[in-house]
């Protein structure tokens, strides 16, 4: 349906363009004066008045049609006294029957009626959709064509419209942020209406099970997120223990020692490491590193679990090596040459120059790079989903299985999503924590790097 309407809109804008062009030529000939702008601008003017209202109608229809139809169908549904209905299941059933009449066998008469109602509403909606698109395009073109006079400054108007479009494009980023903040806060508030915020932040019991039947006491959920935060922290620490020395030393070698040729070869290779999808690292952790960690743990007498913080953290560390090395490389390169020369000039060798002069000078930038890396490690999902566990475990032992914020978000949202229970909503609360922490780290890191840059400019 929506494909053909796109064709309709395309035809509309094409003909409106042609119409605008010929119309303005005609009008200026009639009046015997030259038009203020080139004919194409008048044509574009008509086109815009044709296109944008139609697009608005198109998108609002695409977004709201299904919901409105469903609401009407549900509100007109003939409920049987005493029977209990699940609205989502009911709707799915009605839709199935409407889309595929062969499913109607054995369904109750109410559902078949509702399906017929649903189909007819869809038909009405489609017809009125096409007519309203045509009408709105005609109205737009009509309005615009009244302005097609030689003394009208079409170009100015068009340029003003283009500005509006550009501003809209730039504000998409802001809308995205607003969308993130509002959806997280809104759903988190619903979560905190059922679970106290103190329990969430300070209690150490995370059993996000909800009673399936009324009065089922064994499965009373408790939502203390401390073990999750601790697990995230542990994995992050392991990752940084791998990535910080390797990344920083690689950056130092590349920036200070390596020849131009080595740099040219190694930098793209490190970029490959950065471009590999995280699920691939997850596979690597699961297939190679986790068995290795388990075997290693057994050889030194520690009972390692098959999914351990160590395996996930090590692989995550590898993932952020290129991140740290490229950021630190930039930072080290932006230390002024004069500092190096001064140090070498008074007789220090290269290692001493790096350790005593360059690293202290670059320290703020390197700290910034580490903070960004930490924020990335905390927000990383797929490696930990595959290679760390799902069971909350308050431990400092990296051989044990821990869980992280991102894993719990995924676990809570896989499968049935009923947005009225705290288990599903807990994902949004955890997401909010994640968002706030990463944003905070990022802002601090960017501030530090910015100050650092200013110092040497």
């Amino acid at each position: 349906m929506f494909f053909w309407s796109l064709v309709l809109i395309a035809v509309g804008i094409f003909s409106s363009f042609i119409y605008g062009r010929s119309r303005i030529k005609l009008n200026s000939k009639k009046q015997g004066t030259k038009s203020k702008s080139l004919p194409n601008y008048y044509a574009q003017y008509v086109l815009m008045w044709c296109l944008f209202p139609a697009l608005i109608v198109y998108f609002s229809w695409a977004i709201f049609q299904e919901q409105i139809i469903q609401n009407i169908v549900i509100s007109n549904f003939e409920y049987i006294e005493g029977a209990v209905y699940n609205e989502g299941l009911l709707l799915a059933e009605i839709r199935n029957v409407a889309n595929n009449p062969s499913f109607a066998d054995g369904k109750s008469i109410e559902i078949i009626n509702a399906a017929a109602h649903y189909s007819s509403l869809r038909q009405i909606s489609q017809i009125s959709f096409y007519t309203s698109i045509i009408i709105i395009m005609l109205l737009g073109a009509l309005y615009a064509s009244q302005k097609l006079k030689p003394e009208f400054h079409a170009q100015h108007t068009i340029e003003k419209y283009i500005q509006y479009i550009l501003i809209f494009c730039s504000s998409v980023a802001i809308f995205t942020t607003i969308g993130i903040v509002f959806s997280l806060i809104f759903e988190s508030l619903r979560f905190f209406a059922e679970v106290s915020i103190f329990e969430f932040l300070f209690s150490t019991e995370w059993y996000p099970f909800i009673p399936i039947r009324e009065g089922q006491t064994a499965a009373e959920g408790s939502f203390g997120a401390v073990p999750i935060f601790a697990g995230t922290f542990l994995v992050m620490v392991v990752a940084m223990c791998v990535a910080a020395p390797l990344g920083l030393l690689t950056a130092i070698y590349l920036a200070e020692y390596a020849s131009q040729r080595v740099r040219k070869i190694v930098k793209p290779l490190l970029e490959i490491l950065a471009g590999i999808p995280t699920i691939v690292y997850g596979f690597f952790a699961f297939v190679s590193v986790a068995p290795f960690v388990k075997a290693f743990g057994q050889s030194i007498g520690i009972d390692a679990s098959p999914t351990s913080a160590l395996a996930a953290g090590m692989v995550m560390g590898v993932m952020i090596i290129p991140f740290i090395s490229s950021l630190s490389d930039d930072v080290i390169n932006s230390v002024p040459q004069s500092l190096r020369e001064a140090s070498l000039g008074i007789g220090a060798n290269k290692a001493e120059t790096i350790k005593k002069v360059i690293l202290p000078a670059a320290l703020p930038g390197i700290v910034g790079a580490f903070l960004l890396a930490i924020s990335r490690a905390i927000g990383e999902t797929m490696i930990v989903v595959v290679a760390a566990g799902t069971a909350p475990n308050l431990t400092g032992n990296p051989f044990e299985n821990v869980t992280t914020v991102t894993v719990q978000i995924v676990v809570a949202l896989i499968g049935d999503q009923e947005f009225d229970n705290p288990r599903t909503l807990s994902a949004f609360a955890l997401g909010l924590v994640l968002f706030v922490i990463t944003l905070f780290l990022n802002i601090i890191a960017l501030q530090i790097v910015k100050r650092y840059r200013e110092r040497y400019e």
Partner: protein, 426 residues
């Protein structure tokens, strides 16, 4: 006397210092080599685990297309042929697979074959209807357990109760190998089929198409918006609070974890706007929002690289600012913006977590044909296969990783090509 001691001290100190210098250099060198070694090891692991997935095991089966068993006649219409009793033919073929099989043995033999065998027997017949009332030797797909055993991915030496195939079945397989009734051929299913519960007939075609549709959505949404935003910020935006806010916003958005964008998609696109779950349309929209900052940053860099003299030249001959920008600056920056967009798309291709959030993790056994159809995506498919307990899926996940890496490699190659071909040095 004193002088020579001092000299010795200086020499030994210098030696120590230069040794320290060397050591420090080799620390750096080792770190670099270690990082690269991990890359090599990673690629090696994927290749060594995955290359077997490009082959499948097939078994020679003698099928008797008896018209009585099929309940067909040589002049049946095509419609009737569709309804032929092929499962009975298959049952008979398996009963006669080895001479003198007992009832319990037949059950065991049956498990050596893929679930797809019924369809293969049927398709063979529909392609060659003249074979009715003849016996045909057909190569059919073996069960994943046989496949994994012959590829050496599952071991024989574990106790019987921890094996998928018991001792009797193993002896059957050995017999087949001896009689040359089993061989390995190119696995066309891997490239033509969608996901399946049975590893031997699972493929990446469905998730590959899903990824293509998703990337198409990302491109359609993010490319125009990113160009619009970067043109505005680079050329038109006044220096004020709001512009600064937008810029800070974009750089912060680039650092938001991808899973949070998934929550945005779930909370807003699915729950508020009611867009269809599990579809490339929603997945693509979420990924477009996620990659937008990356693309905007790249686009701005390429707009900045166009020398101001070009715009000034256009302004000097009387063009308005809009004309100067859209007729001169943007076309010159276009190759750079395309490169940035392709790199953003490559990032979107590998992203898994947001797609899981919006339900693209559902089991979809058919190949999607549109933007609003439920579908899988390559990285999610890999995740599903990695998590699967079935042994046969592990090689599939490694092979799917190879597919995605080749795909990524090609996208980056195109980006590099575009940059080298069209980049102008001013």
């Amino acid at each position: 006397m004193n002088n020579s001691i001092a000299k010795e001290k200086i020499v030994s100190l210098r030696k120590k210092r230069s040794l320290e210098d060397m050591r420090f250099k080799y620390y750096g060198f080792t770190a670099m080599c270690l990082s690269l070694a991990v890359l090599v090891f990673l690629l090696y692991t994927i290749f060594s685990k995955g290359y077997t997935a490009f082959q499948k095991t097939i078994v020679l089966l003698e099928v008797d297309y008896n018209q009585k068993v099929l309940k067909l006649t040589p002049d049946s219409s095509d419609e009737d042929m569709e309804k032929g009793k092929f499962f009975r033919v298959k049952k008979q073929a398996i009963e006669n697979f080895f001479p003198d099989l007992s009832k319990s043995d037949i059950k065991l033999v049956k498990k050596l074959f893929s679930i797809n065998v019924d369809k293969e027997i049927k398709d063979y017949f529909l392609d060659n209807p003249e074979v009715i009332n003849t016996k045909q030797q057909i190569w059919v797909t073996a069960h994943s357990d046989v496949d994994q055993l012959l590829k050496g991915n599952s071991r024989r030496d574990v106790p019987e109760d921890r094996r998928k195939l018991n001792d009797i079945q193993l002896s059957y397989v050995d017999q087949l190998v001896e009689e040359n009734r089993v061989k390995q051929v190119f696995n066309n299913f891997f490239f033509t089929k969608a996901d399946s519960r049975h590893p031997e007939i699972a493929g990446v075609a469905g998730s590959f198409m899903g990824s293509l549709f998703t990337l198409f959505t990302v491109f359609i949404l993010s490319f125009p918006i990113a160009i619009g935003a970067s043109v505005y910020l680079e050329e038109f935006a006044p220096k004020n609070r709001i512009t600064e806010l937008i810029e800070v916003n974009i750089s912060n958005l680039a650092a938001v974890p991808s899973i949070v964008f998934g929550l945005l998609g779930l909370g807003v696109l699915l729950n508020v706007f009611g867009l269809p779950r599990s579809t490339p349309l929603v997945g693509g929209s979420v990924l477009a929002l996620m990659t937008l900052p990356t693309i905007i940053i790249a686009c701005r860099a390429s707009l900045k690289a166009v020398p101001p003299s070009i715009k000034e030249g256009a302004l000097a001959v009387g063009a308005t600012k809009t004309q100067a920008v859209f007729h001169h600056v943007v076309p010159l920056a276009l190759p750079g913006t395309l490169t940035g967009t392709i790199i953003g798309l490559a990032q979107a291709l590998g992203e898994t977590a947001p797609l899981i959030m919006i339900g693209m993790i559902a089991f979809i056994p058919n190949i999607p044909t549109g933007l609003t159809e439920p579908s899988a995506a390559l990285p999610v498919q890999i995740y599903l296969w990695v998590e699967s307990a079935e042994r046969g899926f592990q090689e599939k996940s490694a092979a799917a990783i190879m597919v995605i890496l080749i795909f990524l490699f090609m996208m980056n190659a195109i980006a590099v090509f575009l940059r080298n071909r069209f980049e102008r040095k001013w």
